[in-house]
Point group: C2
Chain length 474, copies 2
C-alpha cells in the first residue's frame, strides 16, 4: 500500500459513476471476490470500492478524468491471470475491468497487422488469426490472459526463442493517460526513429503509466507445418547441457522447454493423460526437453528432426520421441500448458519467480537453486523456457504455517534473485514486477535506475493515482 | 540553439581538461572543421569550444561530471554521418568524440552476442562477425557510421524488412548519465519484464538522455546463401504495386528496395559501373526493385527466385535479372549503397526526408510527393526501403539561391510530412529527428506527447546540458 493521501469513492461520486455507466458499476457486496486478487494471492488482496466495466476508450477516459480530479486510485484489470499482484486494488478506489473491451476490430492483411481491443483473450486472437493463415507469435503459457495484460507485462512464452516477445509484435496503441487525455503511440509501420519510444515505455509498464484501450499488433504468415519432440534425460544437468547445442548447430526451434520429472508427474495426474516416457531401457527419466520445429516444408522439418535427434542422443539423451500427429502434439503441449494449474491443484502454499539468465548459465543457476532449496521446508520445482533462459521456479508447501512459509520463501527468493543477477540475468523474464517483486527490483536495479523510473512515473502520473504501489517502491 | 543559460569552457576548465586527458583535448583552430556539421550542413553548423577524444566509460563519466557541475553543454559525436544535425554542437561547449572507443571487446558465441564499444563502425562489426559465420542483421545504407550512432537513431536499413531494426539487436548498454553517473540498462538475455524499459528509451534518443559507452548486441547465424534480383519496370507505379505481392505470397525477402531511374543513373555516373538495364525490348525502364533472398539452402533459394519471377512478371515487370555471382551481387549493392553520395556529388543544395508509411500506401504516397514537387524549383528524387515503407525523398537544386531553396523546401516538407501522417505514417523511419526535424516532430506528435518527452528529458537531464536543442523543441 502506498502512502499517498487518496480520496474515497463517496456516495456522490458513486451516484455520478452509476449515471455515467448505467448497469456497469459494482460496489460493496456486488463485487465478485475474484476481483480481490490475481493468481498469486500470497502477494496480498485488495478490495476496490467500485468496479466499472469499460466499454470504450471514451469510457476509460471519463473514468480517469473523474478519478484524477478527485484523487482516487485506479487499478486497470484484465483477466486477472497475473502472478505478481499487479492488477489488485491495494489502495481501494476504482477498478476498471477491461475484459468487456474484447473485440478483434479488423485485420489489415496487406500490412500484416490486426487491430484489437485490450480485453481480447490471447487464445481468441490465436485461433482467429489461424483461420486466416496468420500467426500471432507470442505464446505465453496462460492462454486466457488478455492481450492488454500481455502487452503490459511484455509477456514472453514458449515461442519467444524463435519469434521474440510481445514487445516485438506491438506496432501502436491508444492510451488513456492518468489525467484522462487520450493519445496514440507508434504507427502501423515497422521502422521508426520518431522521438523517444513512448510505445516501448508503455510495453511492460504494468498499467502504471497509462491504460491501453486499443492496439495494433503484428502478425506473420503461419508456418504450415510443425513437429514436436519429447527428449528424456537421466537428469536435469545433462538435459540443460544440450540446450546451447541447438543454437550452435543452427537449428532454430520454435519452442525449447525443459521440465523436471516431478512437474511432469504432477501435470499428468492433473490432466489424466500419460504422454511423457518415465523409464527407458531400465533408466529412469529425471528431466525432459520439449522441442518444436516449424516451417512450410515437411521434408525440411523431418531432416531437421533427424539432425536434432543425432545431436541430443550423442549428448546423452535417453531417447527422442516424435509427436507428429495433431493428437500427440496437442496432448504433449496441453501437458506443458497445465504445469501451473497442476502445481496449484496439489499445493496449499505457493510462491514463484521467473528469473531469466543467459542460456549458457541455466545449468549452473539451477544447480545453485536446488542446493539452496535444501535448507528450507518447502519443495522446489522448476520448469521453463530453456531456449531463452527464462526459468520458472516454484516453492511449494502443504504442511507448514503460512507465516513460516513466507519468511522462508523470502530468504530463498533473495538468494536466488541475487544469484541470477550475479550470472548476468534479470528479475523477471515475463511475469513482471507488480506488487510482489518490487523490493527485489529496487535492490537489483539500484538507486539510479529507480530514480529514473520514479521520475518517468511522475511525468505520466503526477498524482500517482494509476495502479499505485506497483513496480516502483513508493 | 536553445535558450538555456550555459557556461563557456573557461581557460581554467580547458587547463583542467587538458590535465585530465593529455593530448586528447582540442580547442579553437586545433578543431577540424569536419566537426562543425554532419552530412546535412543545411541544418546549421556549430563550433564546439573543445573536442575531447574519449577512451573509456570512465573518461566520459569524468567529462560529464565536470560539465554538469559547470553547466556546460555536451554533444556526443560518432562518425558524423548523421542527416539531421543531431551530432552538431549548436550551443558550443564540449564535444565528446566517441570514435576512438572502437574496440570489438568480445564475442559470446553461446549466447549469440558481441560486446562492442560505441565507436566501432558498422562495417567493421559486419566484416568481423561474418568471419565467424555470424550476421549482425541491421544494415543501414551508411556502412561507416558508428554503432553508437546506429543505436542512438534506431537505424534501420535494407534488411529491416526481414530482420527488424537496430532496436531489435540491442541487449544491454552501459550509459553515462548527464550528471556523470554510470549505469547499465538491460542484460544479455532476450526476455525481460523487469521494470520500465530504460534500454528501449535510450535506443533512438539521439544522445539526448545519456551517452552510450558500451553495448551488447545480438547476432544470428549468418545465412550461407543469398540471391539478388534486379527487376525493372516501365514506371514507379507498377514497380511499387508489386511490393505487397511478396508478402502475400509468403516470400520473405532479406531486402526489398525500390529506386527511380534518375537515381540509378546518378549512381552509375558516380561509380562508373553499368549494372542496371535501361531498355528492354524497346521499353525504357523507369523504376526498379532490387530484391535479395537469403537462406542456407541454395536449391530452396532458386525455387523462391523462380516463384518471385513468375509473380512480378505477371504483375508487369519488364524482366528479372539475377545477380548470383559474388561480383554481380557486389556491384548491384554497391550501386544501391552509393545513392546518397551520388546525389551529393551532383547537387549543390540538398534536403531530404525519410518518412515511413504503411507498405500498402507507398504508391499513393509517392504519387502525392511527385505531384507536390512539381510546384517547386527543385528536383525530387526518391528511393527507399519498399519492403517496410521507409522512403528517402530528396529535394535537389543546383541553380537557385540557398534562401529560396530553404523556403521552398520548408513548404514542401510540411506538405509531405502531413501526407505521411494522414496515411498512418511517421516522420522518420531511421534517420531520427536531431535538429533539422524537430519542428515537424512537435507538430506531428502534438502537445501531449511532447510534454511527456520533455518530462522524460528533464528526468534524465535536469540541467538540459546533454545534446541541447535536439529532438525536443525547447
Amino acid at each position: 500500500m502506498s502512502e499517498q493521501c487518496f480520496q474515497k469513492v463517496t456516495p456522490e461520486l458513486e451516484k455520478e459513476l452509476r449515471a455515467m455507466f448505467p448497469g456497469k458499476v459494482y460496489t460493496g457486496s456486488e463485487i465478485n471476490e475474484d476481483y480481490f486478487h490475481d493468481e498469486m494471492p500470497i502477494y496480498g488482496k485488495g478490495m476496490p470500492e467500485a468496479v466499472i466495466e469499460a466499454g470504450s476508450t471514451e469510457d476509460v477516459s471519463k473514468i480517469m478524468k473523474l478519478c484524477y480530479e478527485n484523487n482516487i486510485p485506479v487499478t486497470p484489470r484484465g483477466a486477472g491471470t497475473g502472478l505478481t499482484g499487479a492488477a489488485v486494488a491495494l489502495d481501494g478506489g476504482v477498478m476498471i475491468d477491461m475484459t468487456k473491451m474484447n473485440k478483434i476490430i479488423s485485420y489489415d492483411e496487406e500490412n500484416f497487422v490486426v487491430t484489437v481491443q485490450p480485453g481480447v483473450l490471447l487464445n481468441d486472437l490465436a485461433e482467429d488469426a489461424q483461420k486466416r493463415g496468420l500467426l500471432y507469435p507470442p505464446d505465453p503459457g496462460e492462454k486466457f490472459a488478455t492481450l492488454g495484460g500481455n502487452v503490459s507485462t511484455n509477456a514472453g512464452g514458449m515461442r519467444a526463442v524463435k519469434y521474440g516477445c510481445t514487445r516485438d509484435y506491438v506496432r501502436s496503441m491508444t492510451v488513456v493517460l492518468p489525467n484522462g487525455e487520450v493519445t496514440e503511440f507508434g504507427a502501423t509501420v515497422s521502422k521508426t526513429s520518431t522521438g523517444y519510444s513512448l510505445l516501448n515505455l508503455m510495453i511492460g509498464s504494468e498499467g502504471t503509466l497509462g491504460i491501453i484501450t486499443e492496439m495494433v499488433l503484428k502478425l506473420i504468415p503461419a508456418p504450415s507445418e510443425t513437429i514436436s519432440l519429447i527428449i528424456p534425460y537421466e537428469n536435469l544437468e545433462e538435459c540443460i547441457a544440450t540446450v546451447p547445442l541447438f543454437f550452435k548447430n543452427h537449428m532454430q526451434p520454435q519452442a525449447l522447454e525443459f521440465m523436471e520429472k516431478e512437474i511432469v508427474e504432477a501435470s499428468e495426474r492433473y490432466t489424466g493423460k500419460n504422454v511423457f516416457p518415465k523409464e527407458l531401457e531400465g533408466v529412469q527419466a529425471g528431466a525432459y526437453l520439449l522441442v518444436t520445429f516449424d516451417g512450410d516444408d515437411m521434408e525440411a522439418l523431418e531432416d531437421l528432426t533427424e539432425k536434432a535427434a543425432e545431436v541430443v542422443l550423442e549428448a546423452g539423451a535417453l531417447d527422442v520421441l516424435i509427436a507428429d500427429t495433431p493428437v500427440k502434439k496437442k496432448d504433449v503441449w496441453a501437458a506443458r500448458s497445465s504445469f501451473l494449474e497442476a502445481i496449484e491443484a496439489e499445493t496449499k502454499l505457493l510462491d514463484e519467480c521467473d528469473v531469466v539468465v543467459p542460456v549458457n548459465k541455466i545449468a549452473e543457476y539451477l544447480s545453485f537453486v536446488k542446493e539452496a532449496g535444501k535448507s528450507y521446508d518447502f519443495e522446489v520445482k522448476s520448469f521453463g523456457h530453456a531456449g531463452d533462459g527464462n526459468l520458472h521456479i516454484y516453492a511449494c508447501a502443504n504442511d507448514i504455517e503460512e507465516e513460516t512459509f513466507k519468511e522462508q520463501v523470502g530468504k530463498f527468493m533473495t538468494e536466488i534473485y541475487k544469484k541470477a543477477a550475479d550470472l548476468g540475468g534479470l528479475i523477471s523474464g515475463e511475469h513482471g514486477i507488480g506488487y510482489g517483486k518490487k523490493e527485489y527490483l529496487a535492490s537489483y536495479l539500484g538507486d539510479t535506475q529507480m530514480r529514473l523510473m520514479s521520475g518517468i512515473k511522475k511525468v505520466f502520473d503526477p498524482k500517482g493515482i494509476l495502479n499505485p504501489g506497483k513496480v516502483i517502491v513508493s
